[in-house]
Amino acid sequence: MFEPTSITIDEVVPTAKRMLHDGWRLITQTVFDRGEEGFDLFFHYDRELEELDFKLSAPRGTVIPSISGVYFAALLIENENRDLFGIAYEGLVLDFNRSLYLEEAGDPINAPFCKISTFTKPIREV
């Protein structure tokens, strides 16, 4: 069964560095949107077919330290999370600025299941 280890925001990058040092491969990250409560961000790693998972729970609007400087493969994953869930990352090695999937003029964001938008639609006066 799925039993991730909880980590804090300060442990995200040190954990990634430790995993890389110990020979773990990054599989992916998963975002679970908890609505007003915030979101869960899972980090999935693999080594010789063994899977190890970490879970970070954060309130909405939290800026997550990017692990793309440790695992280059994280750059697309984190840009995707930015597009689809509006999660902000700090230190992305290649920042698409929310245009990986979306139009470059995609403001306000209107991704299929983006709830945590940092943009606000202007109120249209009738």
Binding site: T28, F32, D33, F42, L49, A73, L76, L94, F113
Partner: protein, 358 residues
Amino acid sequence: MARTIIPFGPQHPVLPEPLHLKLTLEDETVVEAIPALGYIHRGLEGLARGRDFNQMVYVVERVCGICSCIHALCYCNCIEKLMGLDVPRRAKYLRVIWSELHRIHSHLLWLGLFADAFGFESLFMALWRVRERVMNILEATAGNRVIISVNIIGGVRRDINGAMLQHMLLDLDAIEKELKPLYSTMMNDYTVQKRTVGVGVLSKEQAYALGSAGPVLRGSGWAQDMRQLKYEAFEDLDFEPVVEHEGDCFARNKVRFREVFQSIDLVREAIRKLPDGDLAVKVKGNPEGEITFRVEQPRGELFYYVRCNGEKNPERVRIRTPTFANIPPLLAMLPGVQLADVPVIALSIDPCISCTER
């Protein structure tokens, strides 16, 4: 030297799907490649919240046509494990047979496209002619050629009778016989070697550190294949990953061609060991909990995270496809290569953009 930025894709003769790379060139040499995605993003993960867990089988099958059967297999395993369902052994074997047939036709499709990418059109046509035989088997056993919809939660929808199994064995013999000379051509032909040997090299260390999956990982010397996890009937079948060590386009090509023969052997073995029994178990209630599951698609490791709360709709279905994992390695392969080699290298990861963008 002045740099030029040119677009590679989204519409390009070698690309079956819209992959877009922004290539920065110095003369004819690539110095940087930046991907641009989003042409066929459909929000299928988001659909999970609006479909019940049975309907989601059909949704995940449409993530990608070529490996639809394996997407459904992975998703069904997640739900079955959450619900504690004991899938009948016959169903597990049938799932393996259909998924290996999918692997064969996917690899043959790619091998044909790859031959076409370096201008070997007769090889392309010969490979696709053989692929038609596999498509005919799928149609005869499942009623459809590509999206065969045989997996359901708890087992499989259809059986394969004894006469059809015998017919399949004869067909597999013919497929193998027709493929052997094509394998020899692919491995020994001057043109193939000239365009692929030493091109797009990904070292063993790079392949692992960049999170590669499937034939890209195995072509760089890593013996990692999710079928080693022994899901479904693989626990009873003889399986060793196909590995090559050179890390170039030729090695990835060789891994896939050898895997075609391996999959033929796996189907034969599964048919030989196919047990009698039911096709599915009855499903009661709704799934609850969260789980991850991994299987091996033709393009590599497929990862699913599924979370359910006891209601009929899943709360979250997360899909990480192998092409998504293989784009960072592609970005590492391209700097330093000639522009003329970009189509061959881009194709060598077997890019499936429908999978990537979901």
